[in-house]
């Protein structure tokens, strides 16, 4: 209790803590693909049924193969472009136009792709009122720092962002 009275700083995780995806990642992938490609009935069915699992598997595999979103070997966009293409490939869709891949990559820099938890925003205000130093500790890529949090207008609330 004594330590709690002397609280000086709070660090926060982002995904699942401050915000979450507005809708399942697979659904977003499929919706954007359909804007760029005329899908056949079979393809659409395969994607509809399998894309959520395909994304989870493709993401996990790539995180193991190229950790830290590519680390020093791949750039973050290259890592994600690969993850997006692998996701579709696992559902049997191998021809994905580059603009579709780029649109999927870019959408996750937009606040509209996320739901922000109101209790977390209230808490940020309380922490600020108490003069606490605020920081972010996330295992997501650097785009939370350079794109999403600024786009949401809350980057200035944090003294630092440590990301993957």
């Amino acid at each position: 209790m004594h330590a709690r009275k002397a609280l000086r700083a709070v660090t926060l995780d982002i995904t699942g803590t401050l915000l979450d995806f507005g809708k399942p990642v697979g659904r977003t992938y499929l919706e954007i693909l359909e804007k760029h490609v005329q899908l056949g009935a079979n393809e659409r069915l395969a994607l509809h049924n399998g894309i959520h699992r395909s994304f989870a598997e493709a993401y996990k595999e790539l995180r193991q193969k190229h950790p830290y979103y590519g680390g020093k070997t791949l750039s973050t966009p290259d890592w994600w472009h690969r993850c997006i293409r692998n996701t579709f490939a696992r559902c049997g869709v191998h021809e994905v136009p580059q603009p579709a891949v780029e649109e999927i990559y870019a959408i996750y820099e937009q606040p509209s792709a996320y739901t922000i938890y109101p209790d977390a925003l209230r808490a940020l205000d309380v922490f600020k009122q108490h003069g606490l130093v605020l920081g972010v500790l996330t295992n997501s890529d650097e785009r939370y720092d350079v794109a999403l949090l600024p786009n949401m207008g809350i980057r200035h609330m944090f003294h630092f962002v440590i990301h993957s």
Binding site: R8, D13, V133, L137
Partner: protein, 179 residues
């Protein structure tokens, strides 16, 4: 002089937004390069009104992720420097005076505890059985200590209450009003 700067700034902003629109990859590379330079030269991005803003490309340069202690250690160092700057005297806080809040048992809860932060584990979906199962699985993989079952918090409101921050908030509001 300031008009010259404004023109330069607006031209730069326009150029950056133009580049961004047409080549996102190129934009990210420029940002990477600039921030990398600013870290190298220890010239962190700052502004005069808000808090000092620091960006760290920790994994790309250090290759480390939560629950590694390195990430919490970096946070600890940055908190010390922010407090030192704010108070004007060199300040070192004990990690137990820092709270970390997250929803992942291994990355957030264990990582923070191991380094010595206070740790708060969120379970937003209110499914303690599912969360406990997840914890048991992760603990099995990493042999993390789960003998002390972590308390699960459904929202930040409960954490704020446990941190004893809520009451002081009202006190602050009242004193601000009376000024």
């Amino acid at each position: 002089m300031s008009r010259c700067f404004q023109t330069w700034a607006s031209v730069t902003c326009f150029t950056l937004s133009f580049i961004r629109k047409f080549s996102h990859t190129l934009f990210m590379k420029i940002i990477h390069f600039c921030i990398g330079l600013s870290i190298l030269s220890k010239n962190f991005v700052s502004n005069t009104t808000g808090p000092i803003q620091i960006s760290l490309f920790s994994s790309k340069t250090e290759l480390s992720e939560k629950p590694n202690s390195r990430n919490f250690e970096l946070a600890h160092e940055l908190i010390n420097s922010a407090l030192s700057k704010a108070t004007g005297t060199p300040t070192q806080v004990d990690p137990s005076h820092i709270a970390h809040i997250g929803d992942d048992f291994e990355a957030d809860y264990i990582g923070a505890k191991r380094y010595g932060f206070q740790a708060f584990l969120l379970d937003r979906h209110g499914k303690p059985e599912r969360k406990q199962k997840e914890i048991a699985e992760q603990a099995g993989e990493t042999q993390a200590d789960v003998l002390n079952q972590p308390q699960l918090y459904a929202s930040f409101d409960h954490i704020i209450r446990d941190l004893g921050l809520e009451r002081r908030q009202f006190a602050n509001v009242a004193s601000a009003g009376s000024r």
